[in-house]
């Protein structure tokens, strides 16, 4: 016997038993195809089912029988012509409630034919459920290893050397659905590190390496199966026969044609703004006709809804055919955007609010930007214009010329503080939104557009179109969220965006090294300048100290000088008094009189 894996709680065997016991109400035979050592026999019997095991390997069957499993049979699944007869023979009229094929399909050269024959037989005998387990070749370990050119076939495991067919969730689901099985329940076996998680320290394998972590993040964003080792799924025979025409196959036709139309424009409206007419008129006048408009009417008010529909119906047939209206009664800022993305058919998606304006070359500019840059976010320039509300229906009347407050080009660093790319000046590649399930974060009060832009841009990059193609109208009264939301709410939202980007490695566009170099040079210059200014400051302080000491000394000298001057004056005075001829003469005369 080639495989003898134990029935541990974290094995595909335990998972399939759990799926059967909790989904299959009726008790009867569980027919286990490719049963090997019949790992699921005991727990199923414990749960009240009858177990019948089949295998194509005679020694396996003999071993099972000698171990006490009487209902073990030799069955060659690949002999599809004989399959039904053989199964009828060994079931012998008993009630089959489920069939299992655990780690079997990948060993068959013709799983499509086997499943088709099995489906037919199950329909005849009334068996409802099919449980399967197949390895996932899109496990992150295999995906990241393949990027470095490695596809390591191993004796057992995800790339067991006897595997003939390879399954991803998409291909498994597709094949099952073609045959006529629809998903009933699943309990996949997840392994963060599969049997392919080697060699150690491999740069794409190790989640501790930056590249490994980045690839893991990308893989995890694509679907939920990055760490699924084995798909353990329970299917039921479809009630209605949904089989497509033609023979079921694992092969898919290459999807080489691009999505059409070129652009899907998502416009949210509450149905109360007359400005929607301005927006729609600018759209109807586009020089590039290859777009659709998804009008998300976010209102439960029938009058508002009717007025939007009536507005659209007034346009030409050509334009009306471009517009699809969706009613979303629950008032929500962000949900309508995601619903728009779900409904969009275009190659690119743009969000244009119901008071935004676009120039006639808006769509054409996006297309021009996309040429040679397929898959990137395309961004045009935007201008700001202030408007005032005029008249009974709040017509937007311009009250200023255009200003250009937004950066001419996209750059991550400057965008982190927000407010650099109005929503209507950018369009997103639908393929990326689909592949990574990228949607607007519905829990965000504000900045959901910035959050979305940064996430998509960090994967797809941004191509800037140089022309101004969009006009953001800034209401002078308290209309926009800019006015009604407190600054701290904005700050919090932006912090959250930054924190989210900080969680994993970030992909940066070509040319970033130069930008970083320039930033580093500037930083060094600032550092040198600040060092220089510190030295100057120190010298100034020293100078000040010297000056204060000098001035103190000077003051002392000055005092001393003044005192000397005063002394001199006194002495001079005395000298004058002493030297005055009249005094001397008087003294002389006085003396002479005394002598006389």
């Amino acid at each position: 016997m080639r495989y003898n894996f134990p029935f541990s709680p974290d094995s595909p065997y335990a998972h399939i038993v759990e799926l059967i016991t909790s989904n299959v109400a009726e008790r009867g035979v569980v027919l286990d195809l490719g049963c090997g050592h019949a790992a699921i026999a005991a727990p199923l019997v414990d749960a009240g089912f009858q177990y019948v095991g089949c295998d194509a390997d005679r020694s396996t069957v003999d071993h099972l029988r000698s171990s006490g499993l009487a209902d073990a049979h030799l069955v060659d699944l690949t002999d599809v012509a004989a399959l039904a007869g053989r199964l009828d023979q060994l079931i012998a009229g008993r009630r089959v409630v489920a069939v299992t094929a655990l780690d079997v399909l990948e060993h068959l050269s013709n799983p499509d034919e086997v499943l088709t024959a099995l489906h037919a037989w199950m329909s005849t005998c009334g068996a409802e459920y099919l449980g399967v387990s197949v390895p996932n070749v899109a496990h992150v370990d295999l995906a990241s290893k393949l990027l470095t050119g490695r596809w390591d076939i191993t004796p057992t495991g995800l790339l067991d050397e006897t595997h003939l067919r390879f399954f991803t969730e998409r291909s498994l689901t597709s094949l099952m659905s073609q045959v006529g099985f629809s998903p009933a329940a699943q309990h996949d076996l997840r392994m963060i590190f599969s049997d392919q998680a080697w060699p150690p320290d491999h740069p794409t394998q190790s989640p501790d390496s930056m590249l490994g972590r980045f690839l893991r993040t990308i893989r995890e964003q694509s679907d939920e199966n990055a760490e699924v080792n084995q798909f353990v799924r329970l299917y039921s025979r479809s009630v209605s026969d949904q089989r497509r025409n033609g023979k079921p196959t694992l092969a898919v036709q290459p999807q080489i044609s691009r999505r059409t139309p070129f652009l899907s424009v998502i416009t949210r409206t509450t149905g109360t703004r007359e400005t929607l007419l301005d927006t729609l008129t600018c759209l109807a006048a586009q020089t590039d006709d290859d777009f659709e408009v998804l009008l998300m009417i976010n209102s439960g008010d029938q009058n508002a809804i009717a007025s939007v529909r009536a507005m659209v119906a007034r346009f030409s047939d050509r334009f009306q055919q471009k517009v699809r209206c969706y009613e979303i009664p629950e008032r929500h800022r962000v949900k309508p955007l995601n619903q728009g993305i779900e409904a969009a058919l275009g190659r690119y998606v743009a969000v244009l609010d119901d008071d935004d304006l676009v120039l006639g070359g808006w769509v054409a500019a996006f297309r021009a930007g996309s040429e040679g840059h397929a898959g990137a976010v395309i961004r045009c320039r935007a201008a700001d214009q202030r408007v005032v509300s005029f008249g009974p229906n709040a017509t937007a009347l311009a009250s200023s010329g255009f200003t250009l407050p937004y950066r001419a080009t996209y750059e991550l660093a400057s965008h982190l503080i927000g407010g650099q790319t109005p929503q209507g000046s950018v369009c997103f590649p639908m393929e990326a939104l689909e592949t990574f399930g990228l949607r607007f974060d519905e829990s965000m009060e504000v900045c959901e557009d910035l959050h979305f832009l940064l996430r998509v841009a960090s994967i797809c990059g941004v191509v800037d179109v140089n022309s101004i193609e969009m006009i953001y109208r800034r209401w002078e009264a308290t209309h926009s969220s800019m006015h009604t939301v407190a600054p701290e709410v904005w700050e919090r939202a932006i912090q959250r965006v930054v924190e989210e980007l900080d969680r994993g490695p970030l992909l940066m566009p070509a040319g970033t090294a130069t930008r970083l170099y320039q930033a580093a040079v500037q930083e060094r210059q600032v550092h040198l300048l600040s060092q220089g200014s510190e030295a100057l400051l120190r010298r100034a302080e020293t100078g000040e100290r010297i000056w204060s000491s000098l001035s103190h000394q000077f003051a002392e000298l000055e005092g001393a000088y003044r005192r000397l001057e005063a002394d001199r004056d006194a002495w001079q005075q005395r000298a004058q008094v002493a030297g005055s001829p009249s005094v001397a003469r008087r003294a002389l005369r006085f003396g002479r009189r005394l002598l006389r």
């Binding site: 007419l277 301005d278 729609l280 008129t281 600018c282 109807a284 006048a285 020089t287 007034r314 346009f315 030409s316 050509r318 334009f319 304006l357 676009v358 120039l359 006639g360 070359g361 201008a383 214009q385 005029f390 008249g391 229906n393 017509t395 009347l397 311009a398 009250s399 200023s400 010329g401 255009f402 200003t403 250009l404 140089n466 022309s467 101004i468 006009i471």
Partner: protein
């Protein structure tokens, strides 16, 4: 005005792209349908005048324009290749001359009126003394001022103007000497006002007008527009008897050195020499505002 006035929509083309003309026609048809179903419009004629050297619209373009407009009840389509470049004003006059309708809707081929534009424009012509109304242009809104209660404006734009045929004829229509275009609408408006009519701006009527912005966020003007605009300014100053403005403008142009402006000055002097300048109107100071950038009060500046 008649209860349900008859309308001629007139578009003068000069080598415009067919797709552009087709879009304008499509928008006109929708606006006409809206006005007719609102009960404010009777029969309609769409007249396209072609000033191009050779017929610039193919038969299939004309056929689809005809189909588009003739979906409206009581409507007809006319196309006229002038065989010479009559200019914008001259072409409009030629189309108006053969019309018997109450109203003329003068439209540039690079416009796309909103479906409700015509209804609002007709509404704006309700008062007997209002001769013409123009629409709010998008996405580059015109900054000229207007009275928020009455709509009164210094002039109305010919890019999308609804005018009563009677006053149009009374003042002799556009002055074709403003060739090939620009400011002929200012001149027409001022002559209407001199004759006692009012012209109004209708902000609820929306029209897309194909304008682009340059890298500084200013409405982009081609060399041709710079030249034509300057020449028209000189014509206006001359017509409204402001020789001081003519002189100061010419001396500014002579010193500024802008080639397009210099060409305009050369052309002005050439026409002056051969006596082909607009006739001078005396006593027109009350309507002629040549001191401001936009020939009248403005709400803001580009």
């Amino acid at each position: 005005m008649a209860h349900r006035p008859a309308l001629q929509v007139q578009i003068v083309v000069y080598e415009n792209a067919e797709t552009e003309v087709a879009r304008a026609v499509e928008a006109v048809a929708a606006a006409v349908a809206e006005a007719q179903s609102a009960g404010s419009l009777g029969r309609v004629t769409l007249s396209i005048g072609d000033s191009s050297p050779t017929q610039s619209l193919t038969q299939s373009c004309l056929d689809s324009a005809q189909r588009e407009i003739e979906r409206a009840p009581d409507s007809q389509f006319r196309y006229c290749h002038f065989g010479e470049n009559l200019g914008s004003g001259g072409g409009s006059n030629a189309l108006a001359a053969s019309s018997t309708t109450d109203l003329l809707w003068i439209l540039n081929p690079d416009t796309y009126p909103a479906p409700t534009a015509l209804v609002h424009l007709i509404d704006a012509l309700g008062a007997v003394d209002v001769a013409a109304a123009d629409a709010r242009q998008l996405p580059v809104e015109h900054p000229k001022g207007f009275d928020h209660l009455t709509g009164d404006a210094a002039w109305v734009s010919g890019a999308c103007m609804l005018i009563k045929a009677e006053p149009f004829r009374m003042v002799g229509g556009f002055d074709a000497q403003f060739f090939p275009m620009y400011c002929d609408d200012v001149d027409l408006s001022w002559r209407l006002r001199l004759a006692g009519w009012r012209v109004v701006h209708q902000p609820f009527a929306v029209v897309y007008h194909n304008k682009r912005l340059d890298q500084a966020g200013l409405p982009a003007a081609s060399d041709f527009e710079h030249e034509s605009g300057m020449l028209s300014r000189l014509f206006l100053a001359r017509r409204y008897n402001r020789q001081d403005v003519v002189d100061s403008t010419l001396s500014w142009v002579d010193s500024s050195g802008e080639p397009a402006h210099r060409r305009a000055a050369i052309e002005y002097r050439r026409r002056l020499a051969i006596g082909e300048l607009p006739e001078v109107l005396h006593d027109a100071a009350a309507v002629a505002d040549l001191n401001s950038d936009y020939y009248g009060p403005s709400r803001f500046h580009y």
